[in-house]
Symmetry: C2
Subunit: 106 residues, 2 copies
């Protein structure tokens, strides 16, 4: 309990397509669990467990209001990921010399 979230947790959380879909959904607006669960063909408890993983990775936060728990995305972990990736981006910029072209190709 109370474990500090790490980069590994962030990657692991994002590895699951259901959880990425949840984040995409939340990017369109915060929502309570039942609203979220409607979009998926799995049971509500399954969604609940995915939300727990996202919560522990600090990718989302819940705020209780009455008997609902509204989830919203939080920026921290992805910003850290961008920092981590920055090292590689620079590496390729140096060694490839054509990063921009790659990024804009599609």
């Amino acid at each position: 309990m109370g474990r500090r979230s790490s980069t590994a947790d962030t990657f692991a959380a994002l590895a699951d397509p259901t959880r990425r879909a949840l984040l995409d959904r939340l990017r369109a607006g915060s929502a309570p669990v039942n609203d979220l669960a409607e979009g998926f063909r799995m049971s509500r408890p399954a969604v609940s467990k995915h939300l727990r993983v996202l919560r522990e990775a600090r990718l989302v936060a819940e705020q209780r209001t009455g008997r609902q728990r509204v989830y919203q995305i939080t920026p921290g972990p992805m910003l850290e990921m961008l920092r981590w990736l920055e090292g590689y981006r620079q590496f390729w910029q140096l060694n490839l010399g054509s990063l921009k072209a790659h990024l804009e190709k599609k």
Copy 2:
């Protein structure tokens, strides 16, 4: 066999700290398996299996030279990840207004 690598595969591959360490090591220069394995306290087959995961995720490529297999990092998947993250970066830039400050804070 021969499965096309996906974003999910990239995240899953990067979720393991050993594999991230391998990539960090390879960023400093391509290397054969034995050289790579020396840096870890697990058996060589274990490293070999991690390399297979990275290979299937297209994060590294092997080139055989004699009886050695030299591994090198490849840019594709991380560039795709950067593209995926770009959507969130923009989201926060709009909704947070202080992304730059966050990125440069540390």
